[in-house]
Structure formats: C-alpha cells, structure tokens
Amino acid sequence: MKTDFKKIAKDGIISSNPTLKLVLGTCPTLALTTAAMNGIGMGLAVSFVLIFSNVIISLLRKAIPKEVRIPAFILIIATFVTIVRLALDYFLPDIYESMGLYLPLIVVNCIILARAESFASKNGVLASAADGLFMGIGFTLALTTMGAVREILGAGAIFGHKLWDFSIGFFSSSAGAFFTYAVFIAVFALITDKISEKSKLKKIKAEEKDFCGEIKENA
C-alpha cells in the first residue's frame, strides 16, 4: 500500500488542521498565542513530540495489546515530553522559561493522543512520521498567525519588537483569545470551503469533458 504523502501533507496543514479544523489542543492555543514567538516555540516542541511518539507507536503497534493502548501511548508521549524539557532547559533556556507551565502540559495535548490513536496505531512508520511532521507544521502555523494577530492588536508589537503605541488590551486578555480563535476558525473555514468548491467544480468540469468526449467518440 503506497503511502500518499501529498494527501497526508494536505490533511495536516489544510483540511485537518488540528487547531482550526479539528479544534484539538485548545488549551495551549488560547494561552500561548499572546505573542508570536511563544507560538513558534510551542509549535516546535509539539512537532518534535508528535513525530517521535508517532514513530515509536507505529513501530510498536502490533506489540501493544489494544486493551492497554491508551496508558501505553501516554507513557511513550510523557517520555518524549520529558526529553524535550531536558533538552530545552539545556540548549535553549530562554524558550524554556517563556513556555513555563505549558511544556509539561504537552503530555495531555489532545492533538498528540488523537493522532496516535487514529493514525499511528494503524499505519506504517514512514506515514506516521510524515503525519506527525505535517500536523506539527499545521499547528505551528495556526499558533504563529494567531499569536501575531493578537500581539499586533493587543500589544502593538511583533516578535517582541514594539511597532507603535496603540494597543487594544482586549486582545491580550483571555476574552480576546476566545474571540480571535473563533474568528480564525470562521475565516479559515470560509477560505477552505471556497477552495474546495472551486476544485470540486474543476473536477466535475473535467469529468464532463471526458464523458462528453467518450459519447462523441462512440456516436
């Protein structure tokens, strides 16, 4: 069974974007999008844990009995989160400090558990790794754009550099987090629906041409 990497990529970033379509992992989304830099840090940490836990779970998918799969998945995910914490504290202490409490919370991030349960335990190693990579990329992109918008509107800065003095404090607050999240989901749904409509129309037109072509030939 050949793995379709293009489909996995498209799913991870656009049609099954974990933050904006599957609405998973909302806790770090709402809490860490106050600044764009936080978004990148969290996205990278989650991507790392996703890829490696997907790979290991995919390798062990025949060995883990299905009755204990959830505890086993959480064990594996927790191991990798601890490794990420140790590595960040050693190599990149600034990011470690800015993420604070949310780093150990990655263990219960629904994205990782959901992808482990629904994809990695049923597909091969390479496909699972790719899925982890693209889901992580989708998560990072969503978080970074949300963080950028909230940072520009709520603090008048971007990536820590102050742009202007004007700021609407609402967007830095938790109420603004929910509001921005809702607007992003709506706008993203609008864009993807329009794109998928266009591509569906193209497909139908192409099929029509083929079909009409066949009829003409046979006629």
């Binding site: 404090g169 609402f170 967007f171």
Partner: protein, 328 residues
C-alpha cells in the same frame, strides 16, 4: 401584493407600539442626561457621544451590507436600537478616554454582541455593557485622570482626585460630597452620563410613564444595592444614599439592566434577577474598590437563560387542576 397582506399567527393584536417607537422613547429619556453631561464636561463629551452613536449605526449598516441586504431595505427596517446602544456607550465613558475609544467600543458592541448573534432581540448580553467593558479592558493605558465637571460643588466642597465616592463607601468612610451634590452631579467626577442623577431619574420617570419599562425593578435593584452596602459596612445607615448615588448604579439600573432581551420572562424570575443584581453589585464594589455595575449586569445577563429554564411562564389560559376530593 405581498406587502398588503400580513400573515402571522395569533394573537392578532394591532398596536402602534413598534420597536422603533420604544427605542425613540429611550433616546428621548437619555437626552436630559446627555445635555447635563455636555454642560458639565464640555464639547468633548458631545463629541464622544456623537462618535459612539455614529459608529454604532455604521456598525449595523456595515454588517447588514456585508450580508448582502440592500441599502434601502436596511434603512426601511432600521429600528433605533443601535442608536440607543451608541448613546449608552457614549454616556458611560468619561472625558478622560481617548477619542478612538467609543469608535472601537461601539463597533464591538453592535457587530459582535448584537449582529453576529442575530440582530435586535437576539443579543446574548446587553451590547452597551459589553462595549463599556471592552473599552474598560482595552484602553486603560490611554486613560488620563478623571476630570472634574465645569460646575463645582453647590456647597463649595472639593473632592480629592483619586477618591471617588464609590471607593470611599467601599472603604468605610462617608464621602466628602453631600447628598444634594451627588444628586445634582455638581463637583463629582464620573462618566459623562452618570453624574447628574436628577436627569437620569427624570428619564426613568418618562420611560415608566410611557410604559417602556416597569419602574419597580430598577428601584428594587437600587434599593437592594444600597441596603447591601449598609449591611456590609456594619449597618451604618449613612452609607445608604452615597452608595446609591455614586458610580453608574442609577444609569445601569434604569437603562441597561432593563433591556428586554436580557431580562427573564416571568415576574418571579425578574425579582430574582434584580435582587441578585443589587447584592452582586454591592459585594463586588466592596471586594474590588471600583465601579462594578457593568460587570454585575454582564454576569447576571449570562444567567438569564438559566433563570428562564427553571422559572417557566404560565401558558396562556392555564388553570391549576383542581385537587380531586375523596373519590367516594
């Protein structure tokens, strides 16, 4: 042809009370407070209120135009509810706010709280309250010091710039301004519309006379808030009038807590709602030492669906079933 026949379900009652007329009544009731606000705080206050109203109406038009409604139809169906929201938003900020505050507040209140949820009659919380809280959260960094009104105290007293009457009462000291001063709003700091209580009460009496609001409920709210403050302060009755006449309590009680959509449907529910509002306002004022009327109204607005779920309206024509006397 469609416009000549009106098709609706019972009850078939014709009346001249339309939403537009009720909203215009509320605008008229707010006029005395606006005028006194301009007298006290100058033309900048008028600019703030005008901007708030303009952008509230603009918000409604923008939203309906994006939803592809024709411009003529919007104007034909325009009920003045956004004008009322705009006026209230303008009246609940002080002149120490920057000029762009009412713009963003009005746009947020009308577009997000009212139009996105379905328009007039479907707002989830009172849009003016939501706009005020939005401005309060967002623009703290640009707010200067409170300005004193142009007309000083009738008795020649001065108020220290940081201690407003709300803070004084919540800390347990009787404020320096006398009750007459607070009633007239002379020498008192505050938002544009909330200082002259006399004008607000006049508006409230007008609304009660026109049967737009039931005057009992705001009075219950105000009285319960005052009583709770005296109880918290240790049964000191001298707190009662300062507590009632300071801050945004009267404007909140008469104009914002009585919004039709965000109050319960039943008499019993309304009693619970307004009494709870009074207690909540007084307790929050004591706990946080700042003006909490808008936050109390916001919180209670969110509990109204719960109240409506459990305290049900009697169906039209319902009679309690007679208890069966002994069978034999």
């Amino acid at each position: 042809m469609e416009n000549n026949l009106i098709y609706s379900s019972s009850p078939h009652i014709k009346t001249t009370r339309t939403t537009r007329r009720i909203m215009i009544d509320v605008c008229i009731a707010l006029l005395p407070a606006t005028v006194m606000g301009v007298v006290y705080f100058g033309l900048y206050a008028l600019a703030l209120v005008a901007l708030a109203v303009a952008f509230a109406v603009a918000g409604e038009y923008i939203y309906l135009l994006i939803m592809k409604k024709p411009f003529k139809e919007i104007t034909r169906e325009f009920d003045f509810s956004s004008v009322v929201s705009g006026m209230l938003i303008g009246l609940t900020i002080g002149t120490n706010y920057p000029v762009y505050a009412p713009i963003f507040g009005s746009l947020f209140a009308v577009i997000v709280v009212k139009m996105l949820f379905g328009g007039t009659g479907k707002n989830v919380v009172n849009p003016a309250i939501a706009g005020r809280v939005f401005m309060f959260i967002s623009f703290q960094w640009a707010v200067g010091a409170w300005l004193l009104p142009a007309i000083g105290s009738v008795y020649g007293e001065t108020v220290a710039t940081s201690a407003t009457a709300v803070v004084d009462v919540s800390k347990g000291t009787v404020p320096a301004l006398s009750v007459i001063d607070m009633l007239l709003g002379t020498g008192m700091q505050g938002c544009i519309g909330e200082t002259c209580k006399l004008a607000l009460l006049a508006g409230g009496i007008y609304l009660a006379a026109r049967k737009v609001i039931n005057i009992i409920f705001p009075l219950i709210y105000i009285a319960v808030a005052g009583l709770t403050t005296t109880v918290i302060g240790g049964f000191v009755f001298a707190f009662f009038f300062p507590a009632i006449l300071s801050g945004g309590l009267i404007i909140g009680a008469i104009f914002m807590a009585t919004d039709y959509t965000t109050t319960p449907n039943t008499l019993c529910g309304n009693m619970i709602y307004f009494i709870a509002l009074g207690i909540l306002t007084a307790v929050l004022r004591y706990a946080t030492n700042m003006e909490t009327v808008s936050f109390a109204i916001l919180l209670m607005n969110l509990t109204v669906p719960l109240i409506d779920k459990f305290i049900l309206n009697k169906p039209f024509g319902y009679k309690k079933p007679q208890k069966q006397k002994e069978a034999k």
